[in-house]
Amino acid sequence: MTENLTIKQASDLLKNKELSSKELTELYLKNITEGKELNCYNYVLEESSLSEAVKSDERRASNSLKSDFDGVPIGIKDLFCTKGTLTTASSKILSDFIPTYESTVTQKCKDSGLISLGKLNCDEFAMGSTNKTSYFGPVKNPWKLKDSKADLVPGGSSGGSAAAVAGDLCIASLGTDTGGSIRQPASFTGTVGLKPSYGRVSRWGIVAFASSLDQAGPITKTVDDAAILLDIISGHDNKDSTSSIKEKENYSQNMNSNVKGMKVGVPKEFMSDDLPKSTLKAWDACKDLLKSNGAEIINISLPHTMSALPTYYIIAPAEASSNLARYDGVRYGLREQGENLIDMYEKTRSEGFGDEVKRRILIGTYVLSSGYYDAYYLKAQKVRSLIKDDFNKAFNDVDAILTPSTPSTAFEIANEPNDPVQNYFNDIFTVPVNLAGIPGISIPFSNDEKNLPIGLQLITNSFEEQKLLNIAKNIEETVQYKATPEKWWIT
């Protein structure tokens, strides 16, 4: 009864007094302790989660609940600044950083009575797609290959957020997605991962990676839960100039899984002989499923898809190189003593940042340098507009676009390619969505022959999250994907 609870189920249990928030929180703290080996959490809030749960129970007793979901424990990616709680971005340079302020998103969760179990591991500064760049070590995917004990990557950068949901170390979690960092790990772990439209969710208080691409979103066990969390975290924030003034919708209430008459596009550029057969098969099966549920499948073209990855790997590092300049050892975070200012900078940043972060700072600095700016950064911005145009044109003809979430399923930690560029290919299907600023969701569809989850990605036009969730819900209802990993970490 209390395994793999969704937000909906948990809040029903609380409502029906079958379980108190304290009991629920204790249960998840126990799951976290048992799942230590997965390395999902950088920091567990053992005491404050329980005291918050007790307060929630008191609110319930006095009929003063903050929301229907008051008392539900969730996990938070360690990229959200949380007042009084360690916030590290999984980097050595922030390994002792305790903010005096709360990010808008996590504040909204608190205001709804959600309880934070702790801060979830991720790639350092959200840069990576395997969670291996974390200063606190890699997260292990709860899933295993059939007949193998090898540890698999959970994807990244929100690897801890996805693995914790898949391994039931929390009911749901918050992640961030700059080039696929929610959808790719969701796909690798059989969870639902939603990246909202750029500007739908406030970025205030989230450690910045690439400001024009970053967006926070939920990782959950169901589409309904994704809608619930999006309802809670979205909306305009006057502390974020890029946050949209568009009225937020009530996604949960307006959920309607009917897809009759909907047009779903399938972009030919996403088809490749390199895709695993099982992924192609899942993609085809999903098309058939939608068709039989009354949707129309239309072949479309997004001609600049192949330019998305190089474009992304210019724009994101450029912004990152500037965003990460503030970690200089002067005011907070790690400081290595030096002979003089420059020496202190060099020692602090050499010691504080990992290889992947350094690599991206160098790339970003290079593409913005005078003499190279036009050839790289400016050109990338132009290509970015072309990619946006591709989507705009496509959405003249279709309601949504269906693609695989990732070019492969999860792979062994030991087999991670040494060539960073090879690793960047993990994001090939997710990156165009960030460049266009539109919403995308990854939902689990089936498992491959190795028993690993395959995720499919749905994409809609800007601020059409409702449509996105509706179609995702239709697929979810039809496929009834119920697979969960075996809890091998419990001995």
């Binding site: 989230i206 910045a208 400001s211 974020d240 100039s241 890029t242 500037s322 990460l324 907070y332 200012l341």
Partner: protein, 476 residues
């Protein structure tokens, strides 16, 4: 021009926007607060903090742009200027690079014999950095972030100035306009207005010389001396067969010299790019028009009006209007009074007291009302000009009302002919030899008799009546 060398000068003015809060945060901007007491999470560049534009600062920049006759750009973009320094928390300064909020404009300045139009390239908004304190500790540099994030307007001139005097007059004029608009307090000692001056030299018909930029000049005197020194230095270099290197230089106020700070080769690559945390700044036409409608009278207009309405000379008008507070003081006094008398007293007596006390007209011990009252007494003949000066001195010291002083000290002028005649007779009776001399043609002695009577009357005798009576008696 020095010998046959031309000076070419361009100036970048950094003017602090007059605003209660910073450009992208709500921290206060009060000068002289204790270190790091006006710093928000944004100013300190804490992780995850985002800038939000302060619309009042935008309004101030637009107002300033209108004041310098410039084009207001309906769309402008904030860029990041990236460099590392201890007092730059973000590791970049938010500034405007390719698309500033204000485009080309101009102002007119006074030259020796004429007016000259100085072109303005642009005005853009940017953040100030913090302050590094190097003298607080033998080993460490301390950082005060109170200034960090304060809004600055950078006003870039064209290289249209050709002498230190023109350069100073240009900065004076810009400062005066900004003060009229109330967009910058123009306080140079506090660093609210500073200038970077670009200097090069060339000869007629030759291409422009290589320029050097002298950074951070914060007084008119320094601007002038730095240009003089720098131009001479460049001429000397060229004359001795060397060349001028393009570089940034600092002016040493103690030695009066400029010295190299960094060469062009060491120049930073600032890696400008549009700040992704901020949307392009888009201004509505109507909004700009509305600001235009509410622009107050500016120095040039006011000067023309003063010349016309109060028959001031061009020079006097320039002096009076160059400072907004002075012009307001003047206008308050001149209403219904003789302009000439007012000009003499304001630019003469009052200015000399203010200079001596080194205070601004706002802090004048003699208010415009009090000054008016004093001048009324002169105009009505109640006191003489000479006596008025004594009273004025008293007013400056005690802050007392002139009428009160006149009453207390019994200083009212004696205009009664009979009373004055008594005094005249007394003087004449005790100076028979001088009367003789006068009658024998030494008429200059009239002044002596006037002086004696005045002394006797303690300066209160009406000079007109006194003169008339004396002449009548002596010439008989």
């Amino acid at each position: 021009m020095i010998n046959d060398w031309n000076l070419v000068i361009g100036i970048e003015i950094h003017a602090q926007v007059k605003s209660n809060s910073k450009l992208f945060s709500s921290s206060p901007t009060d000068f002289g607060s204790s270190p790091n007491s006006q710093v928000s999470l944004i100013d300190a560049a804490m992780p995850g903090m985002l800038p939000v534009i302060n619309s009042y600062c935008v309004e101030q920049a637009v107002r300033s742009g209108i004041g310098i006759n410039a084009k207001i750009n309906e769309k402008s973009i904030f860029d990041r200027k990236n460099y590392f320094y201890q007092d730059l928390p973000q590791g970049y300064q938010i500034s405007q690079y390719k698309d500033p909020i204000v485009g080309e404009g101009y102002i007119d300045i006074e030259t020796e014999n004429n007016q000259k139009r100085i072109g303005i390239e642009r005005l853009h908004l940017e953040q100030d950095a913090g302050k590094s304190l190097h003298d607080q500790d033998p080993k460490y540099t301390f950082v005060d972030l109170n200034r960090s994030g304060i809004a600055l307007m950078e006003i870039v001139s064209k290289p249209d100035m050709n002498s230190p005097k023109e350069a100073v007059n240009y900065v004076r004029k810009v400062r005066s306009i900004l003060r009229y608009l109330d967009t910058c307090d123009g306080n140079m000692e506090q660093g609210s207005l500073r200038a970077d001056v670009n200097v090069s030299v060339n000869k007629d018909g030759e291409a422009l010389g290589t320029r050097c930029e002298i950074k951070n000049l914060n007084s008119f005197k320094h601007i002038s001396s730095a240009i003089v020194y720098e131009s001479k230095r460049q001429i000397k270099l060229i004359d001795s067969g060397k060349r001028v290197d393009q570089e940034t230089r600092l002016y040493d106020i103690n030695s009066g010299e400029t010295r190299s700070m960094r060469s062009k080769e060491d120049a930073h690559d600032y890696r400008y790019f549009p700040d992704p945390d901020l949307l392009p700044l888009v201004l509505e036409k109507e909004w700009i028009e509305n600001i235009k409608k509410n622009i107050p009278e500016l120095p040039d207009e006011k000067k023309a009006r003063f010349v016309k309405e109060y028959s001031l000379s061009n020079y006097d008008a320039e002096v009076v209007v160059s400072d907004k507070a002075t012009s307001e003081y003047y206008e308050a006094v001149v209403k219904g009074r003789a302009p000439k008398l007012v000009t003499t007293w304001v630019t003469g007596e009052l200015f000399s007291v203010l200079n001596k006390k080194n205070i601004s007209i706002q802090d004048s011990p003699v208010s415009a009302d009090m000054m008016g009252e004093l001048l009324d007494n002169i105009e009505s003949g109640k006191i003489s000009n000479r006596l008025a000066k004594d009273i004025f001195e008293d007013m400056c010291e005690t802050g007392k009302n002139p009428n009160l002083i006149i009453e207390e000290k019994g200083l009212s002028q004696i205009s009664d002919e009979g009373e004055i005649e008594k005094l005249v007779d007394e003087v004449l009776n005790s100076n028979p030899e001088n009367i003789e001399k006068y009658k024998n043609g030494k008429t200059k002695l009239l002044g002596f008799f006037v002086g004696e009577v005045m002394k006797l009357s303690k300066g209160k005798a009406n000079p007109g009546t006194l003169n008339k009576l004396l002449k009548k008696k002596l010439d008989n």
